[in-house]
């Protein structure tokens, strides 16, 4: 019973990350406002980062930091540091993408006076 519950909770981590990612993609595809599209891209980025960090998790592992407490303790298991380092890169790139997208949105608003993509020609799909 306990084990089954914990198994379910384990997959809930992946499930949450995938759900956040899908919500972000839905927002980017279905919403009409350009700002909401940018927010959707940013949210899907967060979900993807959560997913990558979750792969590196190891049951019973601690954070990959050799602090004095770790060196004295008995638990020598550590989670995988490589996905965390890659996600650090991905977050910075995601920030760059969001910043440039927001600049383009500001520029479009300055030119068209609206944020609705239906009212801006040549932006329909």
């Amino acid at each position: 019973m306990d084990n089954a519950l914990f198994d379910l909770l384990d997959y809930a981590v992946y499930g949450t990350a995938i759900l956040v990612m899908l919500i972000g993609i839905y927002g980017a595809l279905a919403k009409k406002s350009l700002l909401k599209i940018v927010i959707g891209l940013s949210v899907s980025d967060s979900g993807l980062n959560m997913l990558i960090v979750a792969i590196g998790y190891l049951k019973g592992g601690t954070a990959p930091i050799f602090s004095p407490g770790y060196l004295d303790g008995t638990n020598k298991l550590m989670v995988d540091p490589v996905p965390q380092a890659l996600v650090l890169t991905a977050i910075v790139i995601g920030f760059g993408v969001t910043a440039v997208a927001l600049a383009l949105v500001i520029r479009l608003y300055r030119h068209h006076g609206t944020l609705n993509i239906d009212e801006i020609k040549n932006l329909k799909w």
Partner: protein
């Protein structure tokens, strides 16, 4: 109709990813022969750095981080060139609202503490969770607070670009020094010190301090540029 199509597409995508990940399993050692153990061993034994993520980002993948910093710089440059304005049009804030005296006094009180926290985070990046990028973001939030609280608080673009340039030159220069005194670009050429000391890890703290200054300057520039964007209809 369009929304149903999108939901169907996303359901298919979600099902595909979910089945893949249930096959992988959560919290199990997937990468038995991966680079993880080598990195963990090398970090303590040869680099004397406590934080393995920092060691990977700055030392093992240091060249990658230099590229990442370049991408950030390019994003800020692109932002500035997309939102290009003539010199005499700059100076009027589009986000105009008056804050109460509680907000202004409180933010004046909090600003040095935020800067101190950011500096702490990037100076201790090799010992505790955190590092140059995180500390830089914290410092930029301090400037955001000041820009929101004070109407005519201004940041000099010249000082921002000088800080940014010096930090970038420091990063690349340390890499070149590694090429001169060691064998490869960004190789550690300083004594590594004792594990869990502030002065340990060779070039890692220096690079992360430079990254912290660079990220703080770039993000402050982004916030300042977007806040001073003057729209046609509401400006």
């Amino acid at each position: 109709m369009k929304k149903i199509l999108i939901i169907l597409l996303l359901a298919g995508l979600g099902f595909y990813i979910a089945t893949t990940y249930t096959g992988i399993g959560f919290g199990e050692p997937h990468f038995k022969h991966g680079v993880k153990d080598t990195y963990l061993k090398q970090t303590v034994q040869s680099l004397h750095v406590a934080n393995t993520v920092t060691a990977i980002v700055v030392n093992f993948r240091g060249f990658d981080t230099l590229g990442e910093v370049t991408v950030l710089f390019l994003a800020v440059t692109a932002l500035g060139s997309i939102l290009y304005k003539k010199r005499h049009e700059v100076g009027v804030r589009s986000v105009l609202f008056s804050s109460s005296s509680i907000v202004t006094a409180g933010s004046k009180l909090l600003f040095p503490a935020i800067i101190l926290l950011g500096a702490y985070v990037f100076i201790h990046g090799h010992l505790t969770p955190g590092g140059g990028f995180q500390g830089g973001v914290i410092i930029a939030t301090g400037f955001l607070l000041m820009l929101l609280a004070y109407r005519n608080y201004s940041v000099s673009h010249i000082i921002l670009s000088i800080v940014e340039s010096i930090a970038g030159i420091t990063f690349a220069g340390i890499g070149l020094l590694g090429l001169i005194y060691g064998e490869t670009f960004l190789q550690n050429f300083l004594p590594v010190g004792v594990l869990n000391n502030v002065f340990s890890g060779g070039i890692i703290p220096i690079i992360y301090i430079a990254v912290g200054f660079k990220v703080a300057a770039e993000l402050t520039g982004v916030i300042y540029t977007i806040l001073h964007e003057k729209g046609e209809s509401n400006g």
